[in-house]
Each structure stands twice: as C-alpha cells, then as structure tokens.
C-alpha cells in the first residue's frame, strides 16, 4: 500500500538513533534528578540536627536548655565567639549557621522580659533545595519549647496540662466538592492531587513544542531539498502524503509522551514530592502521609469526594491530548509551508508557542474557571487550554466544560485539517512563503 510506504518513510526520517538516544537520556536524567533529590532529602531528614551554639550568657538556666536539647536529640556544638561581626564569626569558625544566646538572656526571662535569641545563617543561593540543610528555625523552636517547659514548671503546671495547653482542640477538617463531603482538609487534598495536575500540563507543553517543530522542519526540509516537488508529482494522492506526515509525527509525539511521562512522573513524585513533604511541618507529615494506612485513607476520601479519576476519565484525557497534537500538526503544516529555511521555522513556531504558553502558565497559577468571564472566554478560545485544564475539569465534575472543550477542539481540528489539506491540494504549498504574495525563491530558481 502506497500510504504504508509513505508512512514508513516519514517514520524513518523522524525516528533515528539520535532521537532515541536523546529521549532515553532525557528520561533517565529526569529520573536521576528525581531520585537524587529524593535521596538527598531523605538523608537530610534522617540526619540529627547539628548546630553550633554560643552560650554567651552561660547560666544554669541556659545550661539546662542545652541539656534538654540534647535529650531531644538536638546536638548543639558549643563554640566560643565574640562581637557582632557575624560574617567574620561564620568565616573564622568555618560555620554555615550559629545560634547565639546573648549575655543577659536569663536575667531578661527572670524579669519577665522577652530576651533576644540571635541566629546567623549563610545564604548562598535562593534555590529550593539549597537551604534544606538549614535547621536554625527548627532549633529555635526546640529552644522555645524548652523555655516554655521550664517556665511552666516554675509556674507549677504539670506535663499533662502543658501538653493540653499546647493543643487544646482537635480540629476536624471537612471538605465539600459539589454535593459530596469528606473528613479531610483542603491542604491534604491539594498535596495529594497537585502532582497529577502538574504532570499533564508539562507533558502537553513539551509535546506541543516538539510536534510543531518536528512537522515544520519536515515540511521546510522537503521544500528546500525539492523532495516535496518530487513527491507531489508522483502518482500518490496528496491527502495520503499529508496523512502519512501527520500520523508519523503523532506516533513520534506519543513515543515522546511516554518517555517524558515516565521521566517527569519520577521527578515530580520522588523529587518534588519529597521537597513538598519536607516543607510541611512534622505534624502534617505524621498526620497525612506518615503511613500506608493514611495514604489509603486519603485515597478513599478523594474517591468519596469524586476526585479520583476513573479509567474512562484517563481515556478522555488521552483523547483530548491526541486531538491537541493533531491540531498542532495541521497548524504546523500550514506554518511550515510558509517557511523558506529551517532557521525561519524556529520563528514560525512562536505563534503556537504563545498559544501554548498562556494556558500553561494560567493552569499552573490559577483555575481558568475562576477567571473573569471575558478573560475566561478568551482563554478558552485557545484550543490548547481545554487540554491543560482537562484533569481538573474532570476531577471537579465540570463535565459540561470538559465535553464542550472536546467538541470545540474537534471543530478546530476539522477547520485546521481542511485548510492544511486545501493547501496541499493547491500549488500554494510550493509558492507561498514568509513573503506573503511573493514567490518563494527556494522553489523558483527559474520562472
């Protein structure tokens, strides 16, 4: 069959050793970064707090605080410093952070004044992971707790009373989605579904860029090498040429999607997941995801709220992703026909990039459905928006918006396909270029 012959040729052009190697490398890099982040954070969380502490007050009270810290597993390395040139103190003692109990600390507490506790930390980067090792605030919490305990004892408050006072109420968090409710907090739901909702937009964005660039370059190369003229003069229907190109690009896109999905899932679940968990406080970790039982309980509560996606939902999201790719392909064929060289194909990708970037950014920071009506219509007019918000719409029961979006995408696809087929069936495919209305120099060496 001639179509199979064309499809095989397109696949051979697109799938080569370089492409496979780069995909595998990217996937393993993403997985490796995820694993490294995860193991680094695990390592850090297992390490006992090692902090340098300079007790300049040196009273029985401050000594008892330090001994209580040791009992709690917080080892404070004593250092002896002077003055308030903190940069010099860190440099001279080769430290990254230090806590200083200044002179007069005990005296201030005894006279019921608020004493000052000095902390000094070195900051070398604003990266999320760069300050994970800084436990100064954790240690100051421990010191605060010790002082609290000491003062309570002085006031004759028992340990049970103290524990009761530190947590006098049990909060029962309930969340309502549509007409369903479950005994779970919004924060817990957010932590649980955030990963799922973030992976899809990343994959969609990467695919849109990749697919557009691939097909545009393919058309541009065929025009420049004049292999397109040879193909178009062969006894094979033009629709089969275009279908073969689109199907091959779609297959390659799907292969890319699988590799990126595996890579990003590992990165997000292991790496980013660990980071988020670390940034949660200890109670939240213990209470929400501390045990398998809790995870199962969270999942069942998500189901109770209708927030768990079924197999059908995932298939619908997959269908929408496929339609999005096909829209990209048909638009890219039109844009690729305007291109004179591979360099200008990089410029021609800009309109598609912007159309993908806008809903991508919005989907990360906000819910499209919560935008003002005029803006919402404008954003939903971009066909890619429906794919970026697909999971969220299905999860929160916005079925009408989802199916309306799907129908809209099918209409957009039909229109784009119509124009790209029409372009291929006319001589415009050879004569149009970036210089609209003028003949393409690359295909008209002699008129």
């Amino acid at each position: 069959m001639k179509f199979i012959n064309l499809l095989k040729k397109e696949l051979k052009e697109l799938i080569n050793a370089q492409m496979i190697i780069s995909l595998v490398v990217v996937m393993f890099l993403l997985m490796a970064v995820g694993n490294i982040m995860s193991s680094t954070i695990d390592e850090v969380s297992k390490t006992e707090y090692k902090i340098s502490l300079d007790d300049r007050d040196n009273t029985d009270f401050t000594k008892s605080i330090i001994s209580k810290m040791k009992e709690n597993g917080t080892v404070a390395t004593p250092v002896d410093t002077q003055g308030d040139d903190y940069a010099a103190i860190l440099k001279d003692n080769n430290l990254d952070s230090i806590i200083i109990i200044p002179q007069g600390f005990t005296e201030a507490i005894d006279s019921k004044k608020k004493p000052q506790l000095i902390t000094v930390s070195r900051m070398e980067s604003a990266a999320m992971m760069s300050n994970v090792n800084n436990h100064v605030s954790d240690v100051t919490d421990v010191i605060r707790g010790c002082i609290y305990e000491e003062l309570s004892q002085r006031a004759g408050i028992t340990q049970e009373e103290l524990e009761y006072m530190s947590s006098p109420v049990n909060i029962s968090d309930n969340t309502v989605v549509d007409d369903k409710s479950a005994n779970i907090s919004v924060e817990t739901i957010m932590n649980s579904v955030m990963m799922k909702n973030q992976i899809l937009p990343i994959i969609v964005f990467v695919l849109i860029m990749m697919v557009s660039q691939t097909i545009m370059s393919a058309i541009a190369n065929e025009k420049i090498d004049k292999t397109l003229e040879t193909l178009l003069s062969a006894p094979v229907s033009r629709s089969s040429i275009i279908r073969a190109k689109m199907l091959a690009a779609a297959i390659v896109a799907m292969i890319n999607a699988v590799f990126y999905m595996v890579g990003f899932s590992t990165l997000m679940s292991k790496g980013m997941g660990s980071t988020i968990n670390t940034s949660m406080n200890v109670e939240e970790i213990a209470g929400n995801i501390g045990s398998v039982g809790d995870i199962v309980s969270t999942e069942s509560k998500l189901s109770q709220l209708g927030l768990s996606l079924s197999v059908t939902d995932y298939l619908l999201v997959g269908l929408q992703l496929f339609i999005t790719i096909m829209i990209c392909l048909s638009v890219s064929i039109i844009l690729g026909a305007l291109v004179n060289d591979v360099k200008s194909s990089q410029t021609m990708i800009m309109p598609l990039m912007m159309l993908a970037m806008i809903p991508y950014m919005i989907s990360i920071f906000a819910d499209v459905n919560s935008l003002p009506t005029a803006l919402k219509i404008l954003v939903y007019a971009i066909p890619f928006t429906h794919t970026f918000s697909a999971m969220s719409n299905l999860m929160f029961g916005h079925d009408i918006i989802f199916f309306a979006g799907l129908a809209y995408q099918i209409v957009v696809l039909a229109v784009c396909m119509f124009f790209s087929l029409r372009l291929f069936n006319s001589d415009k495919i050879l004569t149009i270029s970036l210089k609209f209305g003028k003949k393409d120099k690359t295909t008209n060496s002699d008129t």
């Binding site: 069959m1 001639k2 012959n5 064309l6 095989k8 040729k9 051979k12 052009e13 080569n16 420049i224 090498d225 004049k226 292999t227 003229e229 040879t230 193909l231 178009l232 003069s233 062969a234 006894p235 094979v236 229907s237 006319s426 001589d427 050879l430 004569t431 209305g437 003949k439 008209n444 060496s445 002699d446 008129t447």
Partner: protein, 246 residues
Amino acid sequence: MENILEVKELSKKYSKVFAADKVSFNIGKGEIFALIGPNGAGKTTTIRMIATLLTPTSGDAVVAGHSVVNEPSKVRECITYLPDEAGAYKTMKGIEYLKFMAGLFTTDSREIEKYIEKAKNINGLGERLNDKIGTYSRGMIRKLLLSRAVMTSPKLAILDEPTSGLDVLNALDIRKTIKRLASEEGMSFLLSSHNMLEIEFVSDRVGIISKGHLMVTGRIDELKERYNAPNLEEVFERVVLENEIH
C-alpha cells in the same frame, strides 16, 4: 509521430505578471524536446504546470491523452519529474530511496524489484547504494535521481536542468543515458537547460522561451538555417534579442 505531450496555450499568471503566456508545443514518442531560455523566461513555470505542480491560469497540457487540468492524478501516472537542484532524503540509503520511490508507482513487489534493478544499471553506483545519501557527492545524487526518474519507464520524463553543477564526465554520462533511453525504449523527454552544447548534443527539437513567450520551436539544424547562425548559441541570442526589440 504519436504525440505524448500536447501543450495548448498554457499560461500562468503571478499577481499581474504572466510567467508563461500561451505556451504551445508538442513532444512525440521517443522524442527529446528542450526548453531553452534566459533566467526568468518561464521554463520552470511551464515545466511545473506540465508536472501538475502548478495549476495553469489558462490553457491545458495533455500527457498521453490526460489533461493536467482535469486529470492531474492520471497525468502523474505517466510522468516523472526531476526538479532543478533537487536533493534526496539524506538519512536514507540510496537503495532505500529507490525502493521508496518505486513504491509510489506500484504496489507489486516484483515490479518494484524490476524498477530498482533498472535504476542500478543506469546509475552505476554499485555498492555505494548501500550508503546513506548524505555521504554522496553532487554527481552521485544527480545520477541517483536521474535513475529514479527513468526507472519506471514513464511516457514522459521531465528533467529540469538535468546536468547543472556536474563535471564534464558526469554530465556526459547523463546525456548519453537520456539519448539511449529515448532511442532504445521510446521514452519521451522534456528538458530545460542553459547549456547550449548539451542541448545540441542531446535534443531532437528545441523551444526558445523568453519573457513567458515561446518564441520558436524546431529542429536545431532547421533553426540554424532559419536564423543563419553557425550554432545554437547564436540562434538563441538572435531570438532573445528579437523578442527584446519587440
């Protein structure tokens, strides 16, 4: 002689300019016809219309009884086209390219093998056909493409500047192949070229085109006599100058 191609007042207009204006000529079976003209004369536009790549603004061309306007898909079954300075898929091996192109003309695997065998004999690339096209020299690519253009024994092979950019030996080889295929297999050729020596050597008849108009057609010796010129170059010069004066 049976006509394989009949071009009838074929015109193509871009914006307000006619790139080809009422061009008419015929090519008989086994005949080699060359369109010659200065740059921008309308050679490629005329050739592309006959190759069904461009839609004529008016007029028609009939290839083996099929109109390029009404039956372009039928025309494509009877022709092959080799564009000027055409390339091939660099990541493919020479043999894969021939197989792919043969597969566009037939689905019969025996036919495909026959076409490939013929192409191999014509291009003489031997073992190099198993190498990627990206490693080929310009001459090798041109030979590969020419063998591709004639391997299916089309009724009309359209070759735009078939030897442009080639060294003397490669060009001579290609000219000999064209002549042999026309005389032995009765294949018809429509060529375009700037090289008058090549045209004198290879073609049976020529058409001189200038500013979109086909000024004159005829056998080379007839034209030399008519314009009292010792060679085709001078015939060409006189026809083009005549056109500029008018």
